[in-house]
């Protein structure tokens, strides 16, 4: 009986990894089995042809940014964390580089600030940066005083809610009021020019109580606003009412539909039960009928005594 080698022995033979004894036995087998010999020949030929697939040009290897050699072993030797740190590519800059970068950024900010006449302001949690010449938009002392007075006046009007304090108004002559109006207009323009665009738009569209109104006009305006507010509140109430009614109506509708559905299901269940009962009665009736038939027949078939 001829020896049949394992598959791995074919490969060992092809790569010259069989011992001398194994090789002799394997070749003896090949002489006895031409099919296997052919197979080995084809494999050897194919192996010879595989090297016709040369390497392709590989892309350039990337450059890993790695700390200098001198620093590495010391850190690695002292702590485990250090050793692990060394295994990570150091994309993070070193402390000295970070400090230098922050210092450079600050210097750049100072230079830019100087060139653009930057001004920083922090007041009551409000941080502001301004660029450009601030002196041109600063208010002269006299105008600043008027502005303060006007702002106090406006505040007073706002706080009183309905009318201007007559004492404050009576202190101003017609000429003063006129001057104040002009100053106010100029000041407002300056204020607006210093506002950010979004604030400016809001400011222009604000509800304005003009200082030129007299007491009657002011009261009239307040009344008009009150009426308007009342109307709005009334509308809001109406709308809320309507919405509530609609919601209530919808809820009632849903509840009614739910009741209908339950009733339909109950009815269906009762009908089914009745039908089932009916069927049972019918069945019982038939059974009884049959039983009676059997009984009658048996009675009839008995010989009369």
């Amino acid at each position: 009986m001829k020896h049949k080698p394992e598959k791995h022995q074919f490969i060992s033979y092809l790569y010259g990894e069989l011992s001398e004894e194994e090789k002799v036995r394997f070749e003896a087998y090949l002489r006895q089995d031409p099919q296997s010999a052919k197979e080995v020949g084809e494999m050897a030929q194919l192996l010879g042809q595989l090297d016709q697939w040369p390497d392709v040009e590989a892309p350039e290897p990337p450059v890993l940014i790695i700390p200098p050699v001198a620093e590495a072993p010391e850190v690695a030797a002292t702590t485990e964390v250090g050793a692990k740190e060394l295994q990570k590519p150091h994309w993070v800059m070193r402390l000295s580089q970070g400090v230098a970068l922050i210092a450079a950024s600050l210097a750049l900010l100072l230079v830019v600030g100087y060139l653009t006449r930057m001004e920083m302001e922090y007041q009551a949690g409000d941080f502001r940066l301004r660029f450009g010449d601030q002196s041109s938009s600063a208010l002269p002392d006299g105008q600043q005083a008027i502005l303060t007075e006007l702002q106090a006046l406006r505040k007073e009007v706002k706080q009183s809610g309905r009318m201007v304090n007559p004492e404050t108004v009576s202190r101003l002559t017609g000429q003063e009021i006129q001057e104040l109006k002009m100053t106010l207009a100029r000041l407002e323009k300056q204020m607006e020019s210093r506002m950010p665009t979004s604030e400016r738009v809001k400011y222009r569209h604000r509800p304005v109580v003009r200082q030129s109104l007299n007491e009657d006009q002011f009261n009239q305006l307040v009344n008009q606003i009150s009426r308007e507010n009342f109307r709005l509140v009334e509308q809001a109430f109406e709308a809320a009412n309507e919405e509530q009614q609609a919601q209530l109506y919808q809820a009632l509708n849903q509840f009614a539909r739910h009741l209908d559905q339950i009733r339909a299901e109950d009815t269906q269940m009762v009908m089914a039960s009745l039908e089932e009962l009916d069927q049972k009665a019918e069945r019982k009736f038939q059974e009884t009928d049959q039983a009676l038939d059997v009984l009658i027949q048996s009675v009839q078939s008995q010989p009369q005594q």
Partner: protein, 193 residues
Amino acid sequence: MTEERQIIENAMQGDGQAFNLLMRNWYKRIFNFAFRYLNQYDEASDITQQTFIRAYQSMHSLKEADNFRAWLYIIASNLCRQHSRRASRHPTSGLDDQDPGHIAAEPHADSPETPIFRQEWKELLQEAMTRLPEEQRIVLIMKEYEGLKFHEIATVLGQSENTVKSRMYYGLKALKKILTKWNIDREAITYEA
């Protein structure tokens, strides 16, 4: 101690420059391994990069400098197999499923004697290799193109040496069968001078 062993040991101790040197030495080999396995240039390039990133991150887990080559191929082959599995779950193009016969069958089916030139043979071989089952393909590539010894391949794949040789046997048989199916017989294979 050989020069490369010294470099590997330095890299194991956290020497980044030594690792850079290792990467330069091994980049082409790993890239070609991945390229032969996947037959896709860009993917092979990605796999090669990932191999070295992983190698750098886990250099401390390498116990022996002598095992570096097998260890590097373990990382690369694992990444290749992962990629291959992902790609088979999400095939990107129906072209991949085409019968490669369209490449060679037309010029050779009717006339097996027509010479197949080197470039064409390379393309056929490349295509035929992708048709092999993964476990046979990886053994063929590691042995024939990367020059790993059978015991090293066994280490990389976590199999016995005899299993690796059996896979080589079946791989060669399958490759021969594919090429025969495409009418590439030995008489037809001649090369440019």
